[in-house]
C-alpha cells in the first residue's frame, strides 16, 4: 500500500557560481516515512535540506507541501509551515536561559501585553524537553553551563516542539554520544508515530540503515535512486554513492607514479583538536593526494602543514630540518598554500591582480627595502601571461575576476615566489571546466619540474585522477594509503572514508 | 500620542530658535547676538544717526573678536557694551570661534581675523592662558593690526612684557586687581565667622588664578581660616553641572566646611553650586558663599542668602581699549606707549545693589551710552585727553553708572 505524499519537489536547481549544487533534483517524501539522504561530499544533500528549511532559495523548481506550493524565507516560516531542521553547527546562545534558547524568535507565543511570561515559557520548555526525554535539563539554566550534547538536545527539542510534519536532521548525530543518539532516534520515532516524516542526512551508513525506512542517494546534485528497507545494504549504497561521471576526462593519463625517493617535506605525529597522530612524507616531484569526508580534518591538516595552526603535538619539517611553525617560515622555505576559502584567505579581493601576485615575493624583490615598481610589473605580467589570466590589465581589481581566474592569480602568486611545494586545498572548487583543465595541466608541469604538490580534495575522481599517492583520512586519522594504479576505484576508497 | 505632540512642539521650537538666531546673526553681522546685543545695536543705530553728523571725519574701521560662546552674566554685558562702543566709534566687528582651547587655536583664530582684514583685534585672556602672547604680538606686528587684551595682567620682567611692550601695534591691556577681589570675598566670609572654606578656582599657575589665591591666603591668615580643598578641574569648573558636582563633592567629603569661595567662573558654576546647597537644605546660614564674577541670578541668591557677597562687573576694559584703538586709527592717539590699564571691580553685598546693577546694566545693556563713547573720540571732542580718560577709568563704579543716567 502507498501512503500519501507529504512533500514533493520537482526539478530543483541551485548553483553557486559555476558549480551546480542541485540540477533538476526531484524528490518525494511519504507520510510517516523516515527517509535517509546520502551522497558524497558536495552531492547537494545539505543544499537541498537548507532549501527546504528556508536557509537557501532555489533557483528554479517547485516544492509542494501536502499539495500546497511551498516557499519560505526563513527557518521560522518553514517551522510555521511544519518543516523543522536540526543543523550541524551549534544553534544556541550562551548568555541566555535554556528556555529562551528553545523559543528564539517565537517569544511572541508567551507575551501578554508585550511582556514575555517566563513562567509560561519555562513550563513550555519543560514540556518540550520532556517530549524528547531530556527533562533532566533545567530550562532556567544559562545555556553556557550545559555541555555540547545538551545544547544539541535543546535544538532537537526546539525542532520537535511544534510537532513538525517534516523533521530534517543534517549530520547532527556525529556531535552526539550514545545517550544523545537515543534521544534523537526517540524523537524520530515519535514524529513517525504522529504520522510526520523525517529526512535524515548522515555519513554513518550503519546508523542510516538502523534508523531509516528508505534512503535516497544523491550524486552531483542529481537524484540517483531510492532504496527501501529490504534492499538497503551498505555495499550497495556505497556503489550508488560513487561513480560520478565526468563531462570529459582531462585528468592525467599516465600511470607511472614515479618520484624521487628524496623526502623534502614531512609531518611527524601531528595531533590537534581535529587530527590525531598523522604522519606523512612528501617526496620530490610527487603529487600527494589527501582525501576524506569534508569534516575528516584534511583541511585542518593543510593549515597545519603551512604553519597556520599550531598542532598540540608533533611537528612539520622541511628538507633542511627547519621546522615550519608559521606561514612566513613556510613561504621562506618555498611552500605555497591555496586556501579553500579563496576570496577571504587566498587573495585580497580589493587588490589589483599585480599586487596580489607580488605580495609573497615583495621581500625578495626589494633591494634595501625599496621595491622598484618595474620589477613588480615584470613579475605580474610574466606570470599572468604564463597562466593566461583573463583580465583587462594587471591593475584590475580581483573582485571582478571569475572564480577560475582568481584561482589562477593565487597560483601565479606562488609560482612567482617560485615555490617548491604547493599545498592545494580544494584547488578546483567552484571553478569552471576550462580552468580546471589548465590547473591540472599546471600540476603536471609542476611535477615534471621536480616540484611537489599536496592536493587536498573532497572529490574522489580528482584525487584518483591526479595523485601519485593518496592518503585517506577519517575522523582525523589516516586510515589508508593508496598508490597510483589503474585499478584504484572510488568504491575502494569510499570504504575507508565512511 | 503625547510624544507626537511634544515632538511637533519641539520641531516648531527648533525651527523658531534657528530662525531667531539666524536673524539676529544677520542684523549684527555676528553670531554673538543675544537679546541684549540686539537691543544694544538697535540703540546704537539711532545713536550713530545722532553722532553721525558730528563725526564726519571719524574713520570707519573693523575689529576682530573671538566668539565668547553662550551668554553669561560676565561676558554677555561685556560684549554687548563692546559692540555698542565699536558702533559708536564708527567701527564694525567680526567674530571667529576657536576650534579648541589651545594656543594653536588662538593663533589660528588671530590669523583668520587678520585674513578677514580687520584693523584691530581685541582678545580676552586666551593668549595669556595658553602662553602664546609673543606669537600673537609678532603676528599682529608683521601684518600691522592693532591689538589689545582684557582681563590680562602683564608684569614688568616677564617674557610676555618684553614680548608686547616694545611693539608698535600693541595698544593696551586691561586688568583688575585680583588679589584685592579674592581678598574681598574671603575676608567677607571671615567677617561672617567662617572657619573652614573650600575653593572653586582656576587651575594653579594661571596668572589671574595665582593672584586670587594670594588674596585668599592673605585673608586666610588674617582671619585664621583653613582651606580644606579646591576644585580646579576646568572640565568641572566651566559648567553649572560641574558646580553642582563640585558642591556635592565638598559636602560629601568635608562635613566641617562652612564657607565656599568661588574664585572666578561664577557665571558658570554658581547656579549649580547653589542648587546643590538648596537640595541639601544647607547654605543659608550654615554655609557662606562669596564669589568672583557676576551671575545672572545673583540678585535672588543674595536675597535668599545663599550668596553673601559677589564681586565682578569688570566689563569695561575692552571698551577702553576700543577707545584707544579708535583714537589711534583716527591719528589722534592718546598715548604712543602701550597702556596697562587697571580697571575697577564692582562689589555687591546686598540685594539692593544687585537690583541697581540689573536695572542699569543688565537690562539697558550698557555702562557707557553711545553719546559718551562718541565723545571719547578726539575728532568729535577735541578736549578729550589722557587725563579725562584716566578719570573716566578711575570713576567707574556702580554709583558712577547710576549718576551718569
Amino acid at each position: 500500500m502507498k501512503n500519501k505524499t507529504v512533500l514533493s519537489a520537482s526539478n530543483i536547481c541551485k548553483s553557486f557560481g559555476p558549480t551546480k549544487a542541485l540540477q533538476s533534483f526531484n524528490f518525494e517524501l511519504e507520510e510517516g516515512e523516515v527517509r535517509g539522504l546520502i551522497g558524497e561530499n558536495g552531492s547537494g544533500k545539505s543544499t537541498f535540506s537548507s532549501i527546504l528549511s528556508g536557509l537557501l532559495e532555489s533557483d528554479t523548481g517547485e516544492i509542494y507541501l501536502e499539495d500546497k506550493p511551498y516557499k519560505v524565507a526563513s527557518s521560522r516560516e518553514a517551522a510555521a509551515k511544519g518543516i523543522a531542521m536540526i543543523v550541524q553547527e551549534i544553534g544556541t546562545i550562551d548568555q541566555v536561559s535554556v528556555a529562551s534558547n528553545l523559543f528564539i524568535n517565537r517569544e511572541q507565543i508567551f507575551t501578554k501585553l508585550g511582556c514575555i511570561n517566563h513562567q509560561k515559557m519555562q513550563i513550555a520548555a519543560k514540556e518540550a524537553l520532556e517530549k524528547i526525554g531530556a527533562d533532566y535539563i533545567d530550562p532556567q539554566l544559562r545555556t553556557e553551563l550545559l555541555n555540547l550534547e545538551e545544547r544539541k538536545l535543546i535544538e532537537i527539542a526546539r525542532a520537535m516542539y511544534f510537532n513538525p510534519k517534516i523533521l530534517i536532521i543534517d549530520e547532527t548525530s556525529n556531535a552526539l554520544s550514545t545517550k544523545g543518539r537515543q534521544v534523537l532516534y526517540q524523537s524520530i520515532k515519535s514524529v513517525k508515530e504522529r504520522g510526520g516524516s523525517v529526512l535524515f542526512i548522515t555519513h554513518d551508513l550503519e546508523e542510516l540503515i538502523t534508523v531509516c525506512d528508505s534512503v535516497t542517494i544523491m550524486r552531483d546534485g542529481k537524484y540517483i535512486e531510492t532504496l527501501f528497507k529490504e534492499d538497503m545494504q551498505i555495499k550497495k549504497l556505497r556503489e550508488l554513492m560513487v561513480g560520478r561521471e565526468i563531462a570529459d576526462n582531462f585528468y592525467r593519463t599516465d600511470f607511472d607514479s614515479s618520484y624521487s625517493d628524496e623526502v623534502i617535506f614531512q609531518a611527524k605525529h601531528i595531533s590537534s583538536v581535529d587530527l590525531n597522530d598523522i604522519s606523512l612524507a612528501l617526496h620530490q616531484g610527487e603529487i600527494l593526494g589527501i582525501g576524506g569526508l569534508a569534516e575528516c580534518g584534511m583541511h585542518e591538516l593543510g593549515r597545519v602543514l603551512f604553519g597556520l595552526d599550531k598542532p598540540d603535538s608533533g611537528e612539520v619539517i622541511i628538507r633542511n630540518n627547519t621546522q615550519i611553525n608559521n606561514p612566513r617560515k613556510a613561504i621562506a622555505n618555498g611552500i605555497g598554500y591555496l586556501s579553500k576559502n579563496r576570496d577571504t584567505e587566498a587573495i585580497i579581493i580589493k587588490f589589483s591582480v599585480k599586487d596580489n601576485i607580488c605580495l609573497p615575493t615583495l621581500k625578495k624583490m626589494s633591494k634595501y627595502t625599496f621595491i622598484p615598481p618595474q620589477r613588480e610589473k615584470e613579475l605580474s605580467s610574466k606570470w599572468s601571461e604564463e597562466l593566461s589570466i583573463k583580465m583587462r590589465s594587471d591593475e584590475q581589481l580581483c573582485n571582478q575576476l571569475s572564480g577560475g581566474n582568481k584561482q589562477k592569480v593565487v597560483l601565479a602568486k606562488w609560482m612567482g615566489n617560485d615555490s617548491k611545494i604547493l599545498i592545494m586545498d580544494c584547488p578546483t572548487r567552484g571553478i569552471d571546466i576550462g580552468v580546471k583543465e589548465n590547473i591540472y595541466k599546471l600540476m603536471m608541469q609542476f611535477k615534471k619540474e621536480g616540484r611537489s604538490v599536496i592536493m587536498i580534495s573532497e572529490e574522489l575522481p580528482e584525487l584518483i585522477g591526479m595523485s601519485d599517492r593518496m592518503i585517506i583520512l577519517k575522523d582525523g586519522a589516516a586510515v589508508c594509503e593508496i598508490n597510483r594504479s589503474p585499478s584504484v576505484t572510488e568504491h575502494q576508497i569510499i570504504q575507508y572514508m565512511i | 500620542m503625547k510624544k507626537l505632540i511634544s515632538a511637533a512642539l519641539v520641531v516648531t521650537m527648533l525651527a523658531g530658535s534657528l530662525v531667531g538666531c539666524s536673524k539676529s546673526a544677520e542684523n549684527t553681522g555676528s553670531s554673538a547676538a543675544s537679546e541684549v546685543a540686539i537691543e544694544a545695536t538697535s540703540e546704537s543705530t539711532d545713536s550713530e544717526a545722532a553722532t553721525k553728523e558730528a563725526t564726519k571725519e571719524a574713520v570707519a574701521w573693523k575689529v576682530g573678536l573671538i566668539d565668547p560662546g553662550p551668554y553669561n552674566a560676565t561676558s554677555g554685558p561685556l560684549f554687548a557694551q563692546l559692540e555698542l562702543t565699536i558702533n559708536a566709534l564708527n567701527g564694525t566687528f567680526t567674530y571667529v570661534t576657536m576650534e579648541s582651547n589651545s594656543a594653536e587655536a588662538t593663533i589660528n583664530a588671530v590669523k583668520n581675523l587678520i585674513a578677514a582684514d580687520v584693523d584691530a583685534i581685541i582678545l580676552s585672556n586666551q593668549a595669556l592662558k595658553y602662553g602664546c602672547m609673543a606669537e600673537v604680538a609678532d603676528l599682529c606686528e608683521e601684518s600691522e593690526v592693532y591689538w589689545s587684551m582684557f582681563w590680562t595682567k602683564i608684569v614688568e620682567g616677564e617674557p610676555n612684557y618684553e614680548a608686547c611692550m616694545n611693539k608698535k601695534y600693541f595698544v593696551s591691556t586691561t586688568f583688575e586687581d585680583d588679589v584685592e577681589s579674592a581678598y574681598f570675598c574671603t575676608s567677607t566670609l571671615g567677617k561672617l565667622g567662617v572657619k573652614n572654606i573650600c575653593e572653586i578656582g582656576f587651575p594653579s599657575g594661571n596668572t589671574t588664578g595665582d593672584m586670587r589665591d594670594a588674596g585668599i591666603n592673605k585673608a586666610l591668615d588674617e582671619f585664621g581660616m583653613k582651606l580644606l580643598a579646591a576644585e580646579r578641574d576646568e572640565t568641572v569648573t566651566r559648567s553649572a553641572e560641574g558646580g553642582a558636582i563640585a558642591g556635592s563633592r565638598f559636602l560629601s567629603s568635608y562635613p566641617e566646611m562652612d564657607g565656599i569661595v568661588v574664585a572666578g567662573m561664577s557665571q558658570y558654576v554658581l547656579s549649580g553650586l547653589v542648587e546643590t546647597l538648596k537640595s541639601q537644605k544647607k547654605g543659608i546660614d550654615d554655609i557662606q558663599v562669596a564669589a568672583i564674577d557676576f551671575h545672572e541670578f545673583q540678585k535672588e541668591y543674595l536675597e535668599e542668602g545663599y550668596l553673601d557677597a559677589i564681586i565682578g562687573g569688570h566689563i569695561e576694559g575692552p571698551t577702553y581699549s576700543a577707545i584707544l584703538i579708535a583714537n589711534r586709527i583716527n591719528g589722534t592717539s592718546l598715548s604712543e606707549e602701550p597702556m596697562l590699564i587697571q580697571d575697577n571691580f564692582i562689589k555687591l553685598s546686598s540685594k539692593e545693589e544687585a537690583e541697581r546693577w540689573d536695572e542699569y546694566v543688565a537690562e539697558d545693556g550698557y555702562i557707557y551710552s553711545p553719546e559718551e563713547i562718541a565723545n571719547c573720540l578726539v575728532v568729535n571732542n577735541p578736549d578729550f585727553n589722557l587725563e579725562v580718560f584716566q578719570k573716566m577709568i578711575d570713576d567707574y563704579s556702580l554709583e558712577d553708572i547710576v549718576a551718569r543716567r
Binding site: 546562545i93 548568555q95 514575555i116 | 510624544k3 515632538a7 537679546e35 553662550p70
Partner: protein
C-alpha cells in the same frame, strides 16, 4: 514600543516573579543568585570602603553616600539606555552631544513658556528626533562605524552652539524641580523598573541577545537586524533624553560643547555598561551597570577628598575601560577554543560508542 508605560504593572509582575521564581529554583541557581547579589553589593562597597579607610571623617556618613548616589543617577540612566545598542555592537559616542543639544533646547523652551515642563519637552523631543534620524541613517547606510558617530557628535554640538546663540543657558531654581530629591528618584526607579522589564520580558531584548550571541542564527531564525538596532537606538536616545532632563535640572543649566568634548559625558556610562557586561553572568545587567556607575563616581569623589587632581579620574577610567575590554576579549577567545575542543571530543566519544 517595549518601553511603553504599561511596563508598570508588568514591572510589579517582574518583581513578584523574581521572588516567585526564586522559590522554585535549583540549588545551583540560588548559589548563583547569592553570588550575583554579593557582586552587586560588594564591588561598589569595596571601592567605597577604600576611601572610608583613607578618609573616614568624610566618608563615614549617610549623607556622602546619598550625594554620590544623586550624582550617579543621570549617568546611570544614560548608561542604561546604551545597554542594548552596545549589545548590538554600536558604541554610540554621539549621545553626549545629543544630551547637550536636548538640554539647550529644553532650557530655551522652559524659559520661553516659563515652566519647567519645557525641559522634558525639549530633551525628549530632541531625543526622539535625533534618535529617529540615527535609526534611519543606520538602516540607510548599513554601517555603524564610530566615524559616523563622531560626525554626528560634531553636527549635534555645533547645532547646539548655534541654537544657544548668545542666550543664557542657566536655569533659575524655579525650573529645577526635576533634578531635586523626590523627582530624580522617581525617574530613577521608574526607568530602572521599565528597563528591567524590557530587558527581562520584552521580545525585543530577547532578539537583541540573539543578535549579540550569534548573528547567523538570528538571521536564520528570521530576526531582522535593522529593526532591532533601530529600536535599540531609539531606546538609547530616550534614556539619554531623560538623563539630560535630570542633568540640566541637577546642575541648573548646561554649557554648549565644542567638537568632541561631549565624549567625556558618554565615557563613564560606557565604562559602566562594560562593567555590566562583565558581571552579566552573575547578575542582571541593569544592576551591574548601576554598580559600575557607583564605582566610577565614588572614585572621582574620593580623588577630590584625597586632594588629588580630579582629572586623574579620566586616567583611571581610561585604564579601567581598556582592562575591561581586554579581559572580555581574552575570555571570549578561551570559551571559543573550549567550544571547538568540546565539539571534537563529543565526535570522538561517539566513535568509541558506535
Amino acid at each position: 514600543m517595549p518601553e511603553d508605560n504599561m511596563g508598570q504593572e508588568c514591572g510589579i509582575a517582574a518583581l513578584l516573579d523574581i521572588r516567585g521564581g526564586f522559590r522554585m529554583r535549583s540549588k545551583q541557581q540560588i548559589k548563583a543568585f547569592i553570588a550575583g547579589t554579593l557582586y552587586f553589593i560588594m564591588i561598589p562597597a569595596a571601592t567605597y570602603l577604600i576611601f572610608v579607610c583613607l578618609r573616614p571623617a568624610s566618608f563615614l556618613n549617610y549623607n556622602s553616600i546619598r550625594l554620590i548616589f544623586e550624582q550617579s543617577i543621570y549617568v546611570c540612566i544614560l548608561a542604561w539606555g546604551m545597554i542594548f545598542s552596545m549589545k548590538a555592537g554600536d558604541n554610540d559616542l554621539s549621545l553626549g552631544a545629543e544630551r547637550i543639544l536636548g538640554c539647550i533646547i529644553g532650557i530655551l523652551i522652559a524659559k520661553e513658556i516659563k515652566s519647567f515642563v519645557g525641559i522634558p519637552i525639549g530633551c525628549i523631543g530632541v531625543g526622539i528626533i535625533v534618535g529617529g534620524l540615527k535609526a534611519f541613517t543606520n538602516s540607510a547606510i548599513k554601517m555603524t562605524s564610530i566615524i559616523f558617530r563622531i560626525a554626528y557628535t560634531l553636527i549635534l554640538s555645533s547645532a547646539g552652539a548655534i541654537i544657544a546663540g548668545n542666550k543664557s543657558l542657566t536655569l533659575s531654581s524655579k525650573y529645577t524641580i526635576l533634578g531635586k530629591a523626590p523627582w530624580c528618584y522617581v525617574f530613577f526607579i521608574v526607568l530602572g523598573i521599565t528597563l528591567l522589564v524590557v530587558e527581562k520580558y520584552s521580545v525585543f531584548s530577547a532578539h537583541c541577545k540573539v543578535l549579540s550571541g550569534n548573528e547567523k542564527l538570528a538571521k536564520d531564525s528570521g530576526i531582522s537586524k535593522e529593526k532591532t538596532t533601530a529600536i535599540a537606538i531609539m531606546i538609547s536616545s530616550a534614556y539619554c533624553a531623560i538623563s539630560g532632563v535630570i542633568a540640566c535640572s541637577f546642575g541648573a543649566g548646561t554649557a554648549s560643547s565644542t567638537g568632541l568634548d561631549s565624549f567625556k559625558l558618554v565615557f563613564p556610562a560606557m565604562i559602566a555598561v562594560h562593567v555590566g557586561f562583565a558581571l552579566e553572568k552573575h547578575i542582571n545587567i541593569v544592576f551591574g551597570v548601576f554598580a559600575g556607575v557607583m564605582i566610577t563616581n565614588t572614585i572621582s569623589t574620593g580623588l577630590i577628598s584625597l586632594g588629588l587632581a580630579s582629572e586623574l579620574k579620566d586616567t583611571f577610567m581610561g585604564f579601567f575601560l581598556i582592562c575591561l575590554m581586554i579581559t572580555s576579549v581574552v575570555t571570549a577567545r578561551h570559551s571559543e577554543e573550549r567550544a571547538r575542543r568540546e565539539v571534537k571530543a563529543a565526535g570522538k566519544k561517539n566513535i568509541v560508542n558506535t
